[in-house]
Symmetry: C2
Subunit: 427 residues, 2 copies
């Protein structure tokens, strides 16, 4: 149609499209012209509530069937949503494992400085926090933690887990957390990635957990749903968690890292995808974002290994937490995305030294994964808090007899939910 010289009819439809907002009745148009006008209106991005009602008012069957098949629904705003979030809806939570955050924050200045930071100092470390000027932040130390949760429980927030104290205190809708040994990554064109913008985009666009789109995120610019994707599922669901990835030093366990000390992740996979419902994945806490209002209480510090250390490969708390969140999302009908954004992870630590500590985590995963894979919540669990309490009960009952670490985790999940509720009531 586009390559032929335009017909008079086509020019007339163009003109109608130009003035579409000034019409109050379209029912006089023949059906085939109406159909053409409708498709052109859609393509031009001009279909809003008023114009949709005009087309519906014609009562023409072909038009109604088009509207049904595209699953176009009456809304008060234009049909294409605009993606935006106010800067004050976001907290960036940083766990300070080392007291000097100068070089870390300088690397991230362009990306972080618009947002409010919550910086939690690992209660185990000594020395004053060093934070360069020009950031909007609050810091919390061991004393603050003890004041809120009592001195005996401060250890819950040691090491990587100190960030959870920030999750607890945040009042924002969105929380983003990036490890302090990561700097911004560059994409395949060498352009620095804005990890915050990508995370926010992941959280604001729908997730599609109920059918796998082979072309990855259909809400990505230039992408769409593949042939065969049911139209009824194309609205998607709210995305509650966005898991980013890592270039350079990948998030491997200590044995793998020890076995392949030269291995670096250099593959930049330009994709975001929804992890399908009921599929479990190993979430890493290195580079994540989540909707605190939807699943905040499920991002919890509860799975502490006896010999947990200050290297990621010595911990599995985030992997446990990720499976909690995934089960909660599957139950409540939210989505989890993984993929972009990448961060660049710098070298830290000697994996061979960590090998002995890590075996416990590696062995426990053999029990943890099947447990979460078979976990079914009851219809009574209607909030993230409810879900966590149900999961904790199942952990205690099914895993508690295997290892005391699970009983402690279950108790700590229940305590966390109580703490979450107390803090929310207080503020």
């Amino acid at each position: 149609m586009r390559t032929d010289p335009p017909s008079l009819l086509s020019l007339a439809i163009d003109s109608a499209l130009l003035h579409i907002s000034s019409y109050s009745d379209l029912s006089f148009l023949p059906e085939h012209i109406l159909e053409d006008l409708f498709l052109r209106t859609l393509r031009a991005g001009k279909l809003n509530e008023k114009i949709l009602k005009l087309f519906i008012a014609t009562g023409k069957e072909e038009i109604l069937s088009l509207i049904g098949a595209f699953n176009i629904q009456c809304v008060l705003t234009p049909v294409l949503p605009t993606i935006s979030v106010r800067d004050d809806e976001v907290d960036i939570v940083i766990a300070a494992i080392e007291p000097d955050l100068t070089s870390f924050l300088e690397e991230w200045r362009a990306v972080f400085s618009r947002f409010h930071l919550i910086i939690i100092k690992d209660p185990d470390i000594k020395g004053e926090l060093k934070i360069p000027g020009g950031f909007n932040y609050d810091t919390y130390t061991k004393a603050d933690i003890q004041q809120i949760i009592g001195p005996s429980n401060a250890a819950t927030f040691s090491g990587y887990s100190c960030r959870y104290f920030g999750y607890l205190l945040s009042k924002k809708k969105y929380i983003i957390s990036i490890d302090d040994d990561c700097i911004p990554a560059k994409d395949t064109k060498g352009i620095q990635v804005d990890a915050i913008a990508q995370h926010i985009n992941n959280l604001l666009t729908p997730a599609t957990p109920f059918f796998f789109n082979t072309l990855y995120d259909p809400f990505c610019k230039g992408a769409d749903f593949v042939r065969g994707y049911p139209f009824s599922l194309r609205n998607g669901v709210s995305c509650a968690l966005s898991c980013g990835l890592w270039l350079n030093l990948a998030d491997l366990d200590a044995p793998t890292q020890a076995l392949k000390p030269e291995l670096r992740n250099t593959r930049y996979v330009d994709a975001v995808l929804t992890v399908p419902a009921r599929a479990m994945m190993p979430m890493s806490g290195i580079n994540i974002a989540f909707d605190r209002e939807l699943v905040g209480p499920a991002l919890l510090p509860s799975f502490k290994l006896a010999k947990e250390g200050k290297f990621r490969w010595e911990t599995v708390e985030d992997v446990w937490t990720g499976m909690c969140v995934k089960v909660v999302c599957d139950h409540l009908g939210y989505g989890v995305k993984t993929g972009l954004p990448y961060v660049w992870r710098k070298e830290r630590g000697n994996a061979i030294e960590s090998l002995k500590k890590e075996w416990e985590g590696v062995k426990l995963m053999e029990e943890v994964v099947p447990f979460f894979q078979s976990m079914k919540l009851t219809p009574a669990a209607k909030t993230a808090e409810d879900c966590v309490i149900e999961i904790a009960a199942a952990v205690k009952e099914q895993l508690g007899r295997i290892d005391p670490v699970f009983t402690r985790a279950a108790d700590s999940m229940v305590e966390w939910v109580q703490l979450w509720k107390t803090v929310k009531t207080r503020t």
Copy 2:
């Protein structure tokens, strides 16, 4: 350890590693030296059956626990598998929707010419097949189809479905099929992709459907399993189906294509991933490969729309077939991969013209997807043939009352399995 000047002990271990294959006993070594030697042997890729047995024979607990945790098992060949397939284990099946295959085959010459081609001429088209010289191929026409399956059923193999006749006649382990409107794609560096090599690699390396690896295919060069991935699942399972993707004209349905006539897929996502168990996806028949011995009978022509045409967006037979295969793979414990390789899809047809035909397919998907998502096979189904028969019975019972197209599909699935068995017995 690497940056310090080497200790005498370290040099001694280096020397032991150099001569590791000449030792017949290692049990005299202290445990910490043995552990170091074991890790260095692994890293050097020197761990073979004989050396593994040497280490096991020491009986040292730390070594046995390392072997257990890495899930290293005794095999007869070196521990790292080498990926290769003989050229005569592969058939490339081409459905000739247009009789002149000259430009198509010339584009693919470098990639296809090593392999045997099975070319099936769409029984609906007229004119002699045109095939350039230098290829090793067999062609089949309407007369051949009628001879094998009888004249009344030849319509089953019309249009895109004619390729299934090639699947039926192939005796090779691996089948690869690419639509005749596709040419080789280029990767982000501008290098032409060898789609056959990538498909074969996807089929020969394990799939990991039971836990999602966030760094995509762990068997890809430079990749591995992410922290938290259970070691017991790292062996993976056999990959039965490899679904490739499309650059330029993506595989969209007619409404989407009509609505976004300018949309082209330009995003080259450099990744292969296993579709998790129990997640369904819309397989496209444009660019696929499969292991015929594992799932051949499940790749079947059965879901024909009344107004099915000669454009992909006018069909859903492959989407249906893909869900059959996925259910079969989930039941029999095989994996399905999606992602690389891409092909470049050329323009063909006018989507707006196809809109009227496509509505039926779009509407039926709303019934088809939930059906396959909830499909559970019984333990009695032990082969792909058994599985297809069970699925056909469920289709008839659960979907048959909704639309006669489903009853026809169920009948045709049963006929296909009979045909498959007959042809296999005969040859």
